[in-house]
Point group: C3
Chain length 468, copies 3
């Protein structure tokens, strides 16, 4: 099985390769800590079977879809649902098209994840290709009907110790309520992502804020009432295991306005008369408010900054969000985080984990900042950068200034349940490879490498997210 | 000949080195596809002899000149012509100065190209130095008088299958007209580069636009007439083999204005009352217009963005353009290309190849964009980045997200005919080295590496430029 | 002593490792040229003993302090003095805390420097740890009382040929005056850093400018008088060995205003009515003025651009500057240096050395600019980037375009006398490793590598700073 080599991703040359091979077995089977991701909570609440192979591997995976589109394939032919309900390709047809173009993924993390998942979950040894497409489809389809492929069985098999889903502030958490009754909260947790009530660029923002007031019983027309609503809702989310909040923002901007300025801004947003600058300022102020609430309640704050969302209006009109048209842009953390950090960056209870799409900030901004502020940690390589080369650039640029212990370990940030072990495995292999190279250069001892490998593979994420 | 080692640029260590050495012979002798460059069409029309060695290697090579200037040598002493006609150094004197300072080029691609060219074209085995300067000069000078050194013989020897020159919109293409009669169009092609009529920051823009109207018979005082003039001229260029257009722009900005806005902008430009912002907006709108014409006629659109031209006013006043004082700056592709891509980014007939001077955009913007938009491909490393390390940074940062098949292969982009084989050779060696490392890390199979090496060395450029 | 391996930092694999090991002994013991740094001139004037180990290694080292703070340790417990005079931890207690947390520095240059210094200066073979903390403290403390640890003895032992300190324009240079009498000026030199009179964002700027007029006897209320004051003061500094000026600026901006504009700007600053934009413009104009004075007097101009200073207001209020809260930001050299270079960038007497915190400018801006302008050289990796990976990224990105001979060699830029040999050693090892890799790839000959290694380790700095 040359496409899934046991030594894959390890350094090519000795002695680094041998050292990586020595380190890897010590971390390979450690439990998985998954404190940030986008799996569907209904899977874990209902523990039902997954539908067909295409629905599992193809249509929900924006990494895979985007690559195929980039080479001229149509989303109709790949079975991606349309808003207008017009028919799109069926599972097996879409799967065959995927297989016929699978060569396009040479060298991409998508291929690594799919190859790994096919092998790990279904025991498939052959590489996906036009020749193997149907047989692999049938193998998967048959396996999906077995108990071994049900969500909880998969969590067990993958040694998932903790996994967090992500829900908006207005989400009623019905699946988590069921899990509470089932006693699975703790292994499975929600995350508080209040973008639906903190981002005034959303069309429904006024309506959302009104709902937010209703479900929390707070008067969201005053700033203090709005903050109370968050305070209340954060507590509700914590009941379902939430240890963290998450914030998807186009920039890293934060603000620290006076009380009258805040109220005036809220008034404007509630009146629907706000413009793009107002929306940016509201988001920026909300970041600082969330930090102050974290100082109160100890929830870990995550900032996912820098994505330009929905850059293709045609795709958006035809099929909606999260299908590949989100593109990173430059991000300024030094000026952006200034207001927040000046306000509460030295608070012992604050923890802010940053996720980065603009790699130029690793060495220039984030590593120096995380190597100074007690509240700041650097999240793992994110999105397009969660790849072997991305991890190498990350470690290359952050470790010397931030050290190993200001890193938040790994998280998979995925919608694709089956890819979770594959993603953690790539991280662990790359960490071992990185450390193998540094031991090979006599920069750290093998004993230190062993400690760091275990830390970054497991404990770092638990510590960073304060998971007991 | 230690300075031109047969294994140069291959990975230092095994097993990557052996794999690269195994891949390289399969691509080394593939024909050269040169779809973008700046060779002089009169060479191919007239097939006359090149003049002296300095005029071949030194005075037209801004890479070489700039380095010598940076260490205090004067352009007078290097024989670079002056606008005021004052005498400058003669060929052999300039050559000796070049040789005496050739050690400055250690580690630069310029040295690789010169070393390779001296050996390939003239059979010279010695390294250029003060000691060998005269003998090498004499060898070159003698060889230039032989038929083997005539332009077409050099194309044959270099296995050039296709080579494109680049001409402005107003260029009468007299050399290409001669080549049409000679039957060499097809192997040699022009490229439509309408900067002379799309860039209002040029002093002669009004005059140029008027000429443009005259030679096309269109009324360029209306926007639709102006576009018709382009439509007409593009057709004229296609008669001489053009498969592509090219656009040198300081930023990646594009625009999609309303008809009245476009006409108002054109009126302003034609009146000569436009300012720098107007010029930028005109260029930006013209990029979208060119894309729309590509949708019509299928010509491949090339965008060379990000150079700050003529940053030394003294040089500009003394000797003119293209002598080393052009410096890259930051470029924003996400926001810049938004208008164009929103307008026609999903059109199957559009192909836009971007060339990059701001490497921070590789992983952050270009690879994600090329990995989504069917119309977008990433051009090879350009200008200062067309170097071994530049190629490594490029492949490191684009492949995982864009894959290998959204890359436009290689082109040499050179004015220096003799350096063409050297440049393609560096690319092929680096591709083999890159793939050798990845096979060595068991990330791709050797069979995949073989396919990719051949693709990136030859077919990718033909496909990208739609060369039949 | 596995934590300080004789082959540390060399490439892990052959043949690069063997080549690096062959090159290194040729440069290891070359004298140290230290043309830029922040050691305390009183050490060299008085040649007195250093106080306790914590005061030597811990409290003045912002790299070490910031990392400990980032993991939640308090500056009080680390013995960092407070402005309010409240007591902080004593030396040995702070030292124990440092030792207990020394594992945090795994993989950082700080650890390399401390490990090397403990061994080099005190013969300590054990790694710092909770177990060894007291013994190492005692060893250091005892050694500090011996003549071998006095400043001049340390300079001798470290083979320091030249070392420059850095003083503000208003500094009376009393220590250097003593050194002049002692005959040690020449080995020890000052550097003219006039930020105290060129940066109007300083609270005391008006007062400082008035003092500047007094000590120079010039009328600083006119622009020409102000420039005369600098002319005068630069001459005074040269008396004490100064070969260079240094400028710490938030951006790389320069300006070239008309005489009336300059006078109006000065009037505004002297009246105290200037805002942030005025301050920036004043600094920008002053950079060009300093360049013009360098054209006159031949002093080498250093620009340290891009640091956002004092980003933590709490730290600033509690303890002051230079304690870890300075963070790099983006820098634009192409547009920033335009005014200065257009004015005098071709002057043979001008030399401008740039230091970089924004690594994205290496390949995009600085290497192309230094590879063109005769006046421009690239300084060594600075601050957070003065590290093994930082040096690799630097050489990777500058050499191909700027060559080896537009680099200013190395300088240590440190306040920590004992770390000077360690820092030069890291540079020399990394240079040998870099060259070893390139020889291993057959890109340069071993003979060239030998020349370059010696040049970058010693002569480059002497040449760049015009030290006779």
């Amino acid at each position: 099985m040359t496409h899934l080599h046991p030594d894959r991703l390890f350094p090519a040359s000795e002695p680094a390769k041998a050292i990586a091979r020595e380190l890897y077995p010590e971390v390979r089977d450690l439990p998985l800590i998954c404190p940030h991701g986008h799996t569907d909570p209904s899977w874990f609440a209902d523990n039902g079977r997954f539908s067909d192979p295409a629905a599992l591997f193809l249509t929900p995976d924006h990494y895979v879809l985007r690559m195929l589109r980039s080479r001229g394939l149509s989303y109709d032919d790949l079975g991606v649902p349309r808003k207008d309900g017009k028919p799109v390709a069926k599972g097996r047809d879409a799967w065959r098209l995927f297989a016929a173009n699978y060569y396009l993924f040479a060298g991409t993390p998508s291929k690594t994840w799919v190859d790994h998942s096919l092998n790990w979950a279904f025991g498939i040894e052959e590489e996906l290709s036009p020749e193997t497409a149907d047989a692999i489809y049938d193998t998967i389809d048959a396996a999906l009907a077995t108990p071994e492929l049900l969500p909880h069985a998969l969590l067990d098999r993958a040694r998932v110790e903790v996994i967090a889903t992500t829900e908006f502030a207005l989400d009623p958490l019905v699946h988590h309520q069921k899990m509470e009754q089932d006693g699975t909260i703790g292994r499975i947790r929600t995350t508080y992502r209040p973008d639906d009530v903190t981002d005034p660029s959303r069309a429904a923002i006024v309506e959302n804020l009104q709902k937010f007031g209703e479900i929390t019983g707070e008067n969201i027309t005053t700033w203090s009432g709005l903050i109370n609503a968050h305070r209340n809702r954060r507590e509700f989310f914590r009941r379902f295991g939430a240890v963290a909040t998450d914030h998807g923002v186009p920039t890293a901007n934060t603000a620290d306005l006076s009380a009258p300025e805040k109220q005036a801004l809220l008034d404007k947003v509630l009146s629907g008369r706000h413009d793009a600058d107002d929306a940016e300022l509201f988001r920026a102020q909300m970041m600082t408010e969330m930090a102050l609430l974290s100082v109160e309640d100890g929830m870990v704050m995550q900032m996912h900054a820098g994505s330009r969302r929905n850059t293709d209006p045609l795709l958006m009109a035809e099929r909606g969000t999260d299908l590949g048209a989100d593109i990173p842009g430059t991000t300024d953390y030094v000026n952006g985080l200034k207001a927040l950090l000046s306000r509460c960056g030295n608070e012992p209870n604050l923890r802010l984990i940053t996720f980065v799409l603009d790699e130029t900030t690793y060495a220039r901004e984030l590593a120096p900042m995380a190597g100074y502020w007690p509240s700041l940690m650097i999240g793992p390589p994110w999105w397009f950068h969660d790849s072997p080369q991305g991890i190498r650039r990350y470690l290359d640029q952050v470790v010397e200034t931030a050290g190993f212990y200001n890193l938040a370990g790994f998280n998979d940030d995925t919608r694709a349940l089956l890819s979770i072990p594959a993603r953690h495995d790539v991280w662990r292999r790359e960490v071992c490879g990185f450390l193998g190279r540094w031991v090979g250069e006599n920069r750290i001892t093998k004993s230190t490498a062993r400690d760091v490998a275990r830390h970054l593979s497991y404990q770092a994420a638990k510590d960073a997210y304060r998971i007991k």
